[in-house]
């Protein structure tokens, strides 16, 4: 293996390169020896856990969906209660208004009846005795 192959000129240091070449050669041999020894060994293969982040993402999504469902249900219930409260208040107001109108109509009718009875007298009360006398004369 030529050390200087493909390297910039400024990196050539002849006095160091001999030692460097020797060191790199030993390093290469060492790694090859280690790899050959390790490659032949039977060993259990670790199972790579690719699922970890997927599982976490699944749990997170599930929690978000569950929280969303609960929040939606609570909001819906609250909304319905609010609508019912508004409808009840409107109904009560409508009934109060009807009762007030009925009461006012009754008062008007009573007043008109009283006026009618007052107006429908045949003679004024001040002339009542004279009218009685006239009625007696006619009877005689």
């Amino acid at each position: 293996m030529r050390l200087s192959r493909g390297l910039p000129e400024e990196l050539h240091e002849p006095e160091v390169d001999a030692a460097l070449e020797q060191a790199l050669s030993n390093f290469r041999s060492s790694v090859h020896a280690w790899s050959e020894a390790a490659y032949g060994q039977a060993r259990p293969v670790a199972v790579v856990r690719h699922v970890s982040w997927r599982m976490a993402a699944g749990w997170a999504l599930g929690c978000v969906l569950a929280a969303g469902s609960v929040a939606g249900g609570v909001y819906e219930r609250h909304h319905k209660q609010e609508l019912a409260r508004i409808a009840a208040a409107a109904q009560a107001a409508r009934q109060q208004k009807l009762a007030a109108e009925q009461r006012a109509r009754q008062e008007d009718e009573d007043l008109l009846a009283k006026v009618d009875s007052d107006v429908s007298r045949e003679v004024p009360s001040a002339m009542e005795p004279l009218a009685q006398m006239m009625a007696e004369d006619q009877a005689r």
Binding site: L3, G6, L7, V16, A19, L20, A23, V31, A33, V45
Partner: protein, 176 residues
Amino acid sequence: MEAAAQEFSSVVQAHRPQIFRFLLASTRDVDLAETLTQECFLKAHRNWDRFRGESSAMTWLMRIAINLEKDHWRNRRMQFWRHTRTNSVDLDEASEWLPSGERSVEQQMMAREQVGQVWRAVEGLSARQRTVFLLRYVEDRELSEIAQATGLSEGTVKAHLSRALGKVRAELRGNP
């Protein structure tokens, strides 16, 4: 279909040891290197019909292995809250491995010392520098192959290599 399966099988047989060696040198973890090697060939098998032969099968596989290793460390960083253990051997243990040759005890000690120095320099490299350095000086890959496998230009590969060698030189001089 049968021919493609046979072709892939021969690719596995031919290149599996090299992919494993590169990943072992990158991670210093035998179990992790084995797992990533399996994943590499699984991924390659799934995408084998898309391999057009623009680069060599070895370069293509190396690219997959580099990306898998990158993903692995990225995932480890993202899972910082989990208790993750590493099986990486320490530098001294990694330096113990030497080919059985006809060497004197002194030569073996010296070689071990040099291997340890290179490992220490490799430890201080950035991920890219380390990848480029290992492909060049452990896997004997050409600069053009390294460029294809890493997705870098040849100029960038040269720059990474020269920086990596500078660090190895400094370590050998005793001033890292």
